[in-house]
């Protein structure tokens, strides 16, 4: 917009604010949120099911229906369309249209199922659902196209219900996400930027809080260090901090001091921990005491389960959708659930660019949730 030179310049003061104020604004909005969190699932679970064309024959004599179905199941099994009921009244799916390879259905029957040549009085091409319905809503829609088999799955229904978490659970998750914002504020204290800049700055870093839900306790907290070390994104630091609570870890600045700290608290910087305890007096901090075959004698281990193991069972809370590196790191670490606030449209690997949690070839799959704001 071109400003008339006679107009006074817009006040600069207005556009300049502290990143803390920006974060406070988000915090306020998050606290007043009334909606549920959104599970990030594969599209197949909620998108309408596409159709494919199939060759359908209309039976001359209804008495032949069951025999015809048996013969077809035997001679023309439809691997990709097993979710279809083969018959709908007198109409019977013979095969996907693609099986015909351009030939006429009469020729196809002649060549493949001679015995059924005469049972149909007419043929037509019908749309049928191309994939099995995974949730009831898809089932109902699919049935309008062609009758389908359906195996209801409670968990899938919960994922698409829009009410995955109950009120108490939502309160807990929002509280840990508030902690993510509080940690970000702690490290960005005093930083001034314009509104546009502050969003940009906040998208180019990340903050990570790791929680062990089995003991409702914060295990590790990390702020980003990617400007100084391109691999030290907060999730990668957090994975290492979890390792520190398990007698491991590789990014240790001061080994000697490190050894003096109670191992259950090695995942959280001391000064930060004090600050967070003040801000969140109701929250517990520290990992479960680590027990390992490697470090303990048989007697010490007696009656004790070994573990924790990596991030197994842990919940990960992040300011931004983790990048490809961090997301795969969290797969390697076997995290149970990952929560994030803002999308990472450039490199996000749980929602924006790819959904690693839905790649079946991988050996571990966590659940991902967003929708805090």
């Amino acid at each position: 917009m071109a400003l008339d030179s006679a107009e006074p310049e817009p006040k600069r003061m207005k556009t300049s604010n502290k990143i803390e104020e920006k974060l406070d604004e988000y915090l306020k909005n998050m606290k007043s949120a009334t909606w549920n969190l959104t599970p990030i699932v594969e599209e197949d679970l909620y998108k309408p099911i596409p159709v494919v064309q199939a060759s359908v024959g209309i039976i001359r004599d209804p008495k032949d229906i069951s025999k015809t179905i048996l013969t077809l199941n035997d001679k023309v099994p439809m691997k990709e369309l097993q979710h279809l009921k083969r018959a709908q009244k007198k109409e019977i799916v013979i095969c996907p249209l693609s099986y015909l390879n351009g030939a006429k259905i009469e020729e196809y029957l002649e060549n493949n199922v001679k015995e059924l040549k005469e049972v149909f009085e007419e043929f037509k091409v019908c749309d049928v659902p191309s994939r099995p319905p995974q949730v009831r809503k898809q089932f109902e829609e699919s049935n309008k196209v062609w009758p389908c088999n359906f195996h209801p799955n409670k968990y899938n229904e919960k994922l698409v219900s829009g009410s995955f978490y109950n009120e108490q659970e939502l309160k807990t998750h929002r509280q840990y996400m508030e902690m993510v914002f509080e940690v970000t504020k702690f490290y960005m204290k005093g930083l001034t930027a314009t509104n546009i800049d502050s969003d940009k700055i906040l998208r180019n870093l990340n903050t990570c809080v790791v929680v062990d839900p089995s003991i409702q306790s914060v295990v590790a907290v990390c702020f980003d260090n990617r400007l100084k070390h391109p691999v030290q994104h907060s999730a990668m630091l957090a994975i290492d901090n979890v390792a520190k609570t398990q007698n491991g870890g590789s990014w240790v600045a001061d080994r000697e001091k490190h050894e003096t700290i109670d191992s259950t608290l090695r995942g959280i910087d001391e000064e930060l921990c004090c600050h967070l305890k003040e801000k969140f007096p109701q929250v517990k901090f520290g990992a479960k005491k680590f027990k390992s075959k490697r470090d303990m004698s048989e007697e010490e281990l007696q009656g004790n389960d070994i573990g924790p193991y990596l991030c197994t069972g842990y919940y990960i809370y992040l300011l931004n959708e983790p990048c490809v590196m961090c997301s795969m790191g969290l797969v390697h670490a076997r995290a149970k659930r990952v929560f994030f606030c803002f999308n990472n449209s450039e490199f996000g690997a749980l929602k924006s660019k790819v959904k690693l949690q839905t790649i079946t070839a991988l050996n571990h799959h966590f659940e991902a949730f967003t929708g805090f704001l």
Binding site: P230, V231, R294, I306, M328, A333
Partner: protein
């Protein structure tokens, strides 16, 4: 080229002896190895301590000590015995190495085979594989015949019986 992969394989062998997944890696600048490492996941109890990440760490320290900027990574050719996993492929993109040459493909976690990371990043390094692939694969097979001593994963035992 082969001599660098031979060194990476040696490091992979060291990993195997230490009961780690046997993957080794060297970073090369001007025909000289400037960083080398192997998998240290069990040792550090950090599942992200793959050979490539360890090498990146070494280079960052080197840059710090020599007052070099991180664009030093642009000179680096990476030799790694197994195709970098999705995490390492992304990390190598983040730091911006010039080239990655690997031994055998990685069907379980590969940053090309399982999920093509190069589609997400714009400034890609060149990637090629199949250099001394049989040797790299032989190391992996030796490992998966045994068990991972730290994972309480019953699947490992299954593999033993097969």
């Amino acid at each position: 080229m082969e001599e660098f992969m031979h060194r990476a394989l040696q490091l992979g062998g060291e990993a195997l002896q230490a009961q780690e997944v046997p993957v080794g890696c060297v970073f090369v600048v001007d025909n000289k190895i400037i960083a080398e490492s192997r998998n240290r996941v069990n040792e550090t109890r950090n599942p992200t301590r793959h050979a490539e990440i360890n090498c990146i760490d070494l280079v960052i320290e080197y840059c710090k000590s020599k007052n070099l900027r991180h664009d030093y990574f642009q000179n680096i050719t990476v030799y790694v015995t197994v195709e970098p996993c999705i995490m390492c492929a992304a990390a190598l993109n983040n730091v911006g190495v010039k080239e990655v040459i690997y031994g055998c493909a990685n069907d379980r976690f590969g940053g090309k085979t399982v999920c093509d990371v190069s589609k997400i990043y714009s400034n890609n390094y060149s990637l090629s594989g199949n250099l001394l692939a049989d040797e790299a694969m032989a190391l992996l097979k030796l490992f998966y015949k045994g068990t991972n001593p730290l994972a309480p994963d019953p699947k490992c035992k299954k593999i033993l019986k097969e």
